[in-house]
Symmetry: C2
Subunit: 290 residues, 2 copies
């Protein structure tokens, strides 16, 4: 029998419980309640993350009404509502504006809604925790979809000096570059090349690596050992790309790190006591490593 202190703490919802909605569809794959709620239990915060499945056609009206609840603090937003959410907020952060997506909603004291996006912030926090400086750094982001846009926007917000963007859709990378330049005029942004040579940070923000026979997203032989190499694919801890970078001696960051690193950012956003990714991993009732 395990010692008493190792038993899971118990969520006891009552009339004072603060609601954090987890909005998306389908709800089945939601994992956040299995991290946030045990954490809230462990520190005695009376809040609960509650999955709420909303279909795309129902979502805008739901957002209008649900944040009028007197005991709601905000929401985690996931597929398929991250893009739609931008247009439903009273205000969105620059990062969410550039990336064109929100994964967090805060109901402010005056009832207005602020949208933010923490995917890229999770990446950036992971880089910092591993000892790298973002201010003045150069970074290559391969993939300009949702997560790539989020990472590029957060790297810019963190003070990166130069960004290289690449996507199989050149128009997608160019559009992201234009949005970045608009909000960060001093940032040097180039597109069209996925050559990792000469960058302080490179990150695969494309889906390449999810399948066994995927090509690597960039030429690993051109990555210097001093380069920080990140990955967003979460279906395996080390993709062939990330494993090759590690073999070259690079400091690496696995996809799941981005997920646990962004939770403290969410907690700060909601005005709740924050913690470290390690604490969150230790209380989580879900295994994230493949």
């Amino acid at each position: 029998m395990p010692p008493l202190e190792r038993l899971p703490a118990c969520l006891m919802i009552n009339g004072d419980t603060l609601l954090i909605a987890h909005l998306g569809y389908p709800t089945k794959p939601f994992k956040a309640p299995l991290i946030y709620n045990p954490y809230f239990d462990s520190i005695g915060v009376n809040a609960v993350v509650m999955p709420m499945g909303s279909l795309p056609e129902d979502y805008p009206a739901l957002v209008r009404e649900i944040f009028k609840l007197t005991n709601i603090r905000g929401a985690l937003v996931t597929m398929p509502h991250k893009v739609t959410t931008v247009g439903l907020m009273d205000e969105v952060t620059t990062t969410a504006r550039i990336a064109g997506a929100c994964n967090a909603i805060l109901k402010r004291d005056d009832g207005t809604l602020l949208g933010d996006l923490f995917d890229g912030e999770g990446f950036v926090r992971g880089v910092r925790r591993k000892g790298r400086t973002l201010a003045g750094a150069s970074a290559l982001v391969v993939g300009s979809g949702g997560v790539g846009s989020a990472i590029a926007a957060s790297l810019a917000a963190a003070g990166a000096a130069r960004l290289g963007l690449f996507d199989v859709s050149a128009a997608s990378a160019d559009a992201l570059a234009a949005r970045l330049r608009e909000h960060y005029p001093a940032l040097a942004v180039t597109t069209g090349s996925k050559d990792p040579a000469g960058y302080d940070i490179v990150v695969n923000a494309s889906p390449l690596g999810m399948k066994d026979d995927d090509p690597v997203p960039m030429d690993v032989a051109r990555i210097a050992s001093s380069t920080f190499v990140g990955e967003v694919v979460m279906t395996r801890e080390y993709t062939p790309f990330l494993a090759a970078a590690r073999e070259r001696g690079c400091t690496t960051q696995v996809g799941v790190d981005m997920l646990f690193e962004q939770i403290p950012a969410y907690l700060e956003f909601f005005g709740l006591p924050t913690t470290t990714p390690d604490v969150l991993r230790s209380v989580a009732k879900v295994a994230y490593q493949p």
Copy 2:
């Protein structure tokens, strides 16, 4: 250290969790989550009762949107929304129609909303559990407000043959009588007297007994010892009225019984595994006895 099996079971919300909204305002006094959720835990049902505070001006639109959630089963409804709810449903039961209030909403498989009211059903179930038969019985209900209307409607639904109604507002009792006669033409309904003589069942459904200096709601000396005597006041276990009836040898029912007796009715309504009031009392994380 207590044995492991005595430790509270843990609510572990995940992507499959069924939501039962607890709608009302303010949420602070809500006690239902402290009964339902430990019960769900104890039997391994993945459902959660979540308090949601809604102001009267926000409530109709909230009801329209929140039941579109893909993982919501229904709602418990409390003050101040019980009357409003009737007009927001696709269908309401006869009991809810007569009483003019709903305290339960079911989202049916086709997405339509059914409203019901279990206050009176709780009273009726308590009477039955204490060995009395409702079919053909006569009952005096003192108080024609929300709870009195609910009890009268449920007594009629349970097959009572004769009801006496009394309220300090004669118009209120007469209006309830008219609604009962409309739906139950064979039921004998009289109003204007609170004389308990000659009834099988008498119940105080007025607030008298909440305060120490309240008069008793009816003349206890006129209650036969064979009469079943019920009370709705919950602020004390035995009101002076109920204590006097018990002293006369009457079988009695305290106010809180009505509350715990109606939970199995809610569970059946939601299509969830049901249980007995005793089991609910044993798992509840709240003390209801004063």
